[in-house]
Symmetry: C2
Subunit: 208 residues, 2 copies
DNA sequence: TAGATTGTTAATCGATTAACAATC
DNA sequence: TAGATTGTTAATCGATTAACAATC
């Protein structure tokens, strides 16, 4: 049983396939060929077939892919079929916006609490979720069995906080702080570096 | 004069170089070799030298790179040395969070206005910026010479709105709506698809 | 069956890494 | 000068695209 590791070039494209399939499903489209999908998505049909075949043969010669089935398979591959408990660290503007982010539920992410070091924020409700003190985060993670932390705190505190949260049991981070978290051990970090995205925009604008 | 197009693999790494150089500068480091920087950034020294040499020879044999100088050069390449006028379309949670995003100013992005179709939001102040009606966006863009629009509106309206804004004079979009904006003509679109980032996190968590 | 379209192998292309002569 | 480190060419690696036999 040799596990062939799938390149991140491929896995980063999965959510986009998932999105297009979700739209096709809503439109009531029953089947789609790699060629048709490639035209919509502006990629090559070859790439679509190669990508999907990393995970299995979901299509059928002469027919294409069944939209409903492929959608559900990619959902499973992405791990969207399970529920995950999440906390937000930092009740600032971005933390608040994310607490109100409606897509979480749809994707199995359950926001259980928001934490902040600022005592004056504690007790406040954000999107129906109470802001709690960072003092209580350890007990909360362990009692509630929290897996994921969303980091929306100043970059200065991101690393030390992440290390502590790991020790309490967190295994995944959605990191909005502008640092590269080099964490020891087996954790997953997904970065959203807004500032870098903004600079890329600036660069491309400067090109003409 | 043959303009060699620089691959996006390279240009997407520039903001990260910029960030590390900014940190080095703050620490007071005067010079750095590609080898030293490669260790900090966890990339190869070869890649750093290759990347930088797309834009010019910023280093010096036997010495390395002058931090201050390289920082400023990359800033110029990224186009951070000019001021750009920006509006936010959509005064929802993400729009509000971005209005409060402090890094804009630092990078030459000047938020001039926030627009929303909801009349009850009009007149409200967000981060010292007034929310205006979408009815007045055309005149505003033209009078104020707005270049960039940040799209934080429901995906259903993103495309039609973007097309209009283009016609009014906007040349760049920072798009937070979950659609691939295929816009006609010469505009720059930088996407921030939070939902896709979240799915990537889910996928990586599922791997173990 | 004939036509369509997959799954997969082979060819191409581009990006990354290694190596080293040039030079500060 | 000797040592360090660049800029750049060449080698390697990986990802994308093309092609086509298999098959629904």
């Amino acid at each position: 049983m040799k596990e062939k590791p799938i390149s991140s070039a491929v896995t980063k494209r999965l959510p986009r396939y998932f999105r297009y399939l979700s739209e096709l499903k809503e439109q009531g489209t029953e089947r789609i060929s790699s060629k048709e999908l490639s035209e919509r998505m502006q990629v090559t049909a070859s790439q679509i077939r190669q990508d999907l075949n990393n995970f299995g043969g979901f299509g059928q010669q002469g027919y294409g892919y069944n939209v409903e089935h492929l959608y559900s398979e990619i959902g499973k591959i992405l791990g969207l079929n399970r529920v995950r408990k999440v906390i937000i660290i930092g009740a600032g503007h971005i933390g608040q916006a994310l607490a109100n982010f409606q897509d979480f539920k749809k994707r199995g992410f359950q926001i259980c609490g928001i934490f902040d070091v600022k005592q004056e924020l504690v007790g406040q409700m954000i999107a129906g979720i109470p802001v709690m003190s960072m003092d209580s985060v350890e007990a909360f993670i362990q009692e509630q069995n929290i897996q994921i932390a969303i980091l929306t705190l100043p970059k200065e505190y991101a690393y030390e906080t992440a290390v502590k949260l790991m020790q309490y049991g967190v295994t995944g981070f959605w990191n909005f702080a502008l640092v590269d978290l080099k964490l020891p051990g087996n954790v997953v970090v997904e970065n959203v570096h807004l500032e870098e995205s903004l600079m890329t925009l600036a660069y491309n604008l400067s090109e003409g």
